[in-house]
């Protein structure tokens, strides 16, 4: 199955890192879309469907928390699982994002294997 993934982070190098992990993890990622903040991500989702969203929190313009709130408020978009990837690993922040409905949380820095483990949990183990 070819997955469609949206990566939301204001850092181009972070988006590149995540994209690389997805590719070498063996997932058949047919489409890997990118956005620099929540506003751009919503514009992408206005025209494309995805199977998974990976999002940072601290971003200029619309941050990750507001982005997730907007997703949860939409009848269609709320069904897309969201994985947070953020430098903020405080209990307060994690609790907050859980309450907003995210399905996973990875604190930066992380190993590529950690991201793959979460991708497998949310998408299933890829077949070689």
């Amino acid at each position: 199955m070819a997955y469609r993934v949206l990566i939301v982070d204001d850092s181009p190098s972070m988006r590149s890192f995540i994209r690389r992990v997805i590719e070498i993890s063996g997932f058949d990622c047919g489409v890997c879309l990118e956005a620099g903040n929540g506003q751009e991500a919503l514009a992408v989702l206005n025209r494309e469907w995805v199977d998974l969203i990976l999002t940072d929190i601290n971003m200029p313009g619309m941050d990750g928390a507001e982005f997730v709130r907007r997703l949860e408020a939409d009848d269609c978009l709320r069904s897309i699982p969201v994985l947070v990837i953020s430098t903020d690993s405080s209990n307060a922040r994690i609790r907050h994002m859980l309450a907003l409905g995210v399905k996973g949380y990875i604190a930066k820095p992380f190993t590529p294997e950690a991201l793959r483990a979460e991708l497998e949990r949310l998408l299933g183990v890829p077949h070689v």
């Binding site: 992990v21 070498i24 209990n91 604190a107 992380f110 190993t111 590529p112 950690a114 483990a117």
Partner: protein
């Protein structure tokens, strides 16, 4: 079963379904185990140090002493027997802090970092690891089945499975209070 013992700064690759590759005394060293389940090719590298640049001459005589020369050679030999990169399962054990109670030299940690850096640059992810700690380890690989085991000093042997120990960064958010 035919046992092939891999010594320190040594490597073995086999496509014999009856072969078992084994290496002992993984203290700060790392044992890197690879297996292609389709071609049924297995390999085991036991390396001591992270980088060869401090002793290039020795690396020429024995590439398996160092991560940056031994790991590429391990994979080259596996490919020569028919292994294919995107099918290979990779696991590692070792990198313990032994005979260095204050952690001054950090050889195990350096070996671990070198492994992760080299695999990342090669586009390969680990699918199981037993790294760090303070105990010496023994690992073995059955070439016919691809099954891998690890035993730490004083503990029972356990099979290395596909699940990675909770890798750095994943938040066990379900248990956040």
């Amino acid at each position: 079963m035919r046992t092939i013992v891999v010594g320190v700064a040594d490597c073995a690759v086999s496509n014999d379904p009856d072969a078992v590759l084994i290496t002992h005394a993984l203290g700060s060293c790392i044992g890197l185990l690879i297996h292609d389940p389709v071609a049924r090719v297995g390999g085991l590298l036991h390396y001591m140090l992270p980088e060869s640049r401090l002793d290039a001459e020795r690396a020429l005589r024995n590439p398996f002493m160092f991560a940056d020369t031994g790991i590429p050679e391990l994979f080259r030999r596996a490919y020569a027997l028919g292994a294919v990169k995107n099918r290979i399962v990779v696991r590692a054990a070792g990198a313990a802090q032994v005979m260095d109670p204050d952690g001054v030299f950090q050889i195990g940690k350096r070996n671990s970092q070198a492994l992760r850096r080299i695999l990342w640059k090669a586009g390969i992810l680990l699918q199981g690891e037993e790294l760090g700690g303070f105990s010496s380890r023994t690992v073995r690989l059955e070439v016919g089945t691809g099954r891998m085991w690890c035993r730490s000093t004083g503990e029972p042997e356990r099979e290395m499975t596909g699940s990675v120990h909770l890798a750095q960064g994943v938040v066990e958010w379900r248990t956040v209070s």
